[in-house]
């Protein structure tokens, strides 16, 4: 609205102050921050499945490359979000207490060992080291969210297990999709790990939802959390589990339709990953309401 006297445009519309005592939606960690959690977490866990189960060099090289590219994409998004990306080297400074520093420290290890694993695929140790670094990256991400005490939906203790296990499920999903395309000899173990990780994610989600419901949580955060659950259960859990189970049954039975198994497993894997992406994107960009402001009853002399 223009000032009728001077024509001066409204100045407060651009950076509105946080007047008012209701919880506000945080806007600083937007889709770019969510992209790092989404891409990096699944990629880190995928490296673990590659190290544990890959049998062919081609599969190891191609899937490791995919995982590293995915993690790199997430990190590039974070650089876009930072106010001063050219000061990025300072992020190594606070390893004593900052989970963000610890996350950043795992990055050169992931990429270094990952590159070595692609260059020397016969040396299994590099793949294992990349996997350990990737899982450490995922663990740090989980702790980063938990330490954000300004956002009630993120500082629920159960978010650590949820973040880790959805990362594992997403990694298993990507692994299953890679198996479907590159090495169908691994269909059986890929289906098993996908089923197991989806089951674990469901347990973690239930635990988080119960804990969030029991805490003093902004109403709008709970609405977002429940909305996530309405998508996650059917599309991110049940359907991919069914697809993986049918693929597994086809492989085990040697049924005539066994040629469908890779398609089913690949689709199940991608849906499992999508479920995790929906979870993280919504929790970070739409569920991040602050505590708001409230005075205790004693303030009013009552």
């Amino acid at each position: 609205m223009n000032n009728p006297t001077s024509g001066q445009a409204a100045t407060i519309a651009f950076n509105p102050p946080s007047w008012g005592n209701r919880p506000r939606l945080q806007k600083k960690w937007d889709w770019r921050a969510a992209a790092n959690f989404i891409a990096g977490g699944g990629a880190g866990a995928m490296l673990a499945f590659i190290a544990a189960l890959a049998t062919s060099n081609l599969f190891l090289i191609a899937s490791t490359f995919f995982a590293l590219a995915l993690m790199g994409l997430g990190l590039a998004c974070i650089l876009l979000k930072m106010g001063h990306p050219f000061r990025a080297l300072y992020t190594f400074k606070h390893v004593q207490t900052s989970w963000m520093t610890r996350e950043v420290l795992t990055v050169p290890l992931v990429f270094g060992f990952g590159a070595a694993a692609m260059w020397w695929p016969e040396q299994h140790l590099f793949s294992v080291a990349a996997a350990v670094a990737g899982l450490a990256f995922l663990y740090c991400q989980a702790q980063i969210l938990f330490a954000a005490k300004g956002i009630p939906a993120w500082s629920v203790p159960q978010i650590v297990a949820l973040t880790i296990l959805t990362g594992v499920a997403e990694g298993a999903g990507f692994f299953a999709a890679a198996v479907a395309v590159l090495d169908t000899a691994l269909l059986f173990p890929a289906a098993v790990v996908l089923l197991a990780s989806l089951a674990a994610r469901q347990v973690a989600w239930g635990s988080y939802r119960r804990a969030a419901g029991a805490r003093k949580m902004p109403k709008k955060s709970m609405e977002v959390i429940d909305g996530i659950g309405r998508f996650l259960l059917p599309f991110g859990q049940i359907v991919p589990m069914l697809l993986a189970a049918v693929a597994l049954a086809l492989v085990v039975s040697g049924n005539a339709m066994v040629s469908l198994a890779p398609v089913l497993l690949g689709a199940g894997g991608l849906l499992a990953a999508l479920g995790g992406w929906v979870l993280k994107f919504n929790l970070i960009t739409r569920g991040g309401y602050t505590h708001g402001f409230q005075l205790p009853a004693k303030a009013f002399g009552r």
Partner: protein, 219 residues
């Protein structure tokens, strides 16, 4: 030593003079307010009550913003407990903003000036605090308990909380004298005595941050 503040809700009228004084002292960019005045209501007509509560960075004794900062740009000063930000090292990741339960950290971005015609002389100076706001662009800023006044106090043998030039501008501006500034770490000092007498409290105790700003109830 821990600098802290007492805010008497019985005296606060919600006039916002403290918010204006802070704005003037620091010449914060458009949309950034180190000091806000929130309110809360209880009851229903005819037994309703509204209380105004000035809020700002609590300079917590266990600040959640400090351990999360990846660059140590946010730090707690040992000698007096102030929580400050080194804008030369801040990368603008906003992790501290997400970590603060009180929403008292602000990202400097967008429109820096209040008027389209350009910076006012006060804005160019960065207020009495002398902030270089262009240098702080894309970093996080917050209340400093008027650290420049505390520095002036140390250099000129003045007492913060007593001498006006050595006391945060919000405290000295309040027409109702609703605020006190001093050392809250001394259990027998005047600040803690007043807190005990009036049953003072802090905000969001469940966050376990141990704020250095205490509120006195309206009773």
């Amino acid at each position: 030593m821990q600098w802290g503040m007492i805010i008497d809700l019985k005296r606060c009228t919600g006039c916002h003079a403290c918010a204006v004084a802070c704005k003037q002292e620091h010449s914060t960019p458009s949309g950034i307010h180190f000091r806000r005045v929130e309110f809360d209501e209880v009851g229903e007509y005819p037994d309703a009550k509204r209380l105004h509560a000035p809020v700002q960075c609590n300079h917590c004794e266990d600040p959640p913003c400090v351990p999360v900062c990846p660059t140590e740009a946010t730090y707690k000063r040992e000698e007096d407990g102030l929580v400050l930000v080194d804008d030369d090292h801040c990368i603008g990741c906003s992790y501290c903003i997400e970590a603060c339960p009180y929403e008292h950290r602000h990202f400097v971005e967008g429109k820096m000036m209040h008027f389209d015609e350009g910076f006012t002389p006060a804005e160019e100076l960065g207020g009495k605090a002398g902030h270089d706001w262009q240098a702080k662009r894309n970093t996080v800023v917050k209340c400093t308990f008027c650290e420049h006044r505390l520095k002036y106090a140390a250099e000129n043998d003045l007492t913060p909380g007593v001498d006006r030039d050595a006391t945060p501008s919000c405290v000295i501006t309040c027409p109702a004298q609703a605020m006190h500034f001093g050392d809250v770490s001394d259990p027998e000092g005047p600040m803690q005595q007043l807190i005990r007498e009036r049953d003072g409290f802090t905000l969001l105790p469940e966050a376990e941050t141990r704020p250095s700003i205490y509120y006195l109830p309206d009773n």
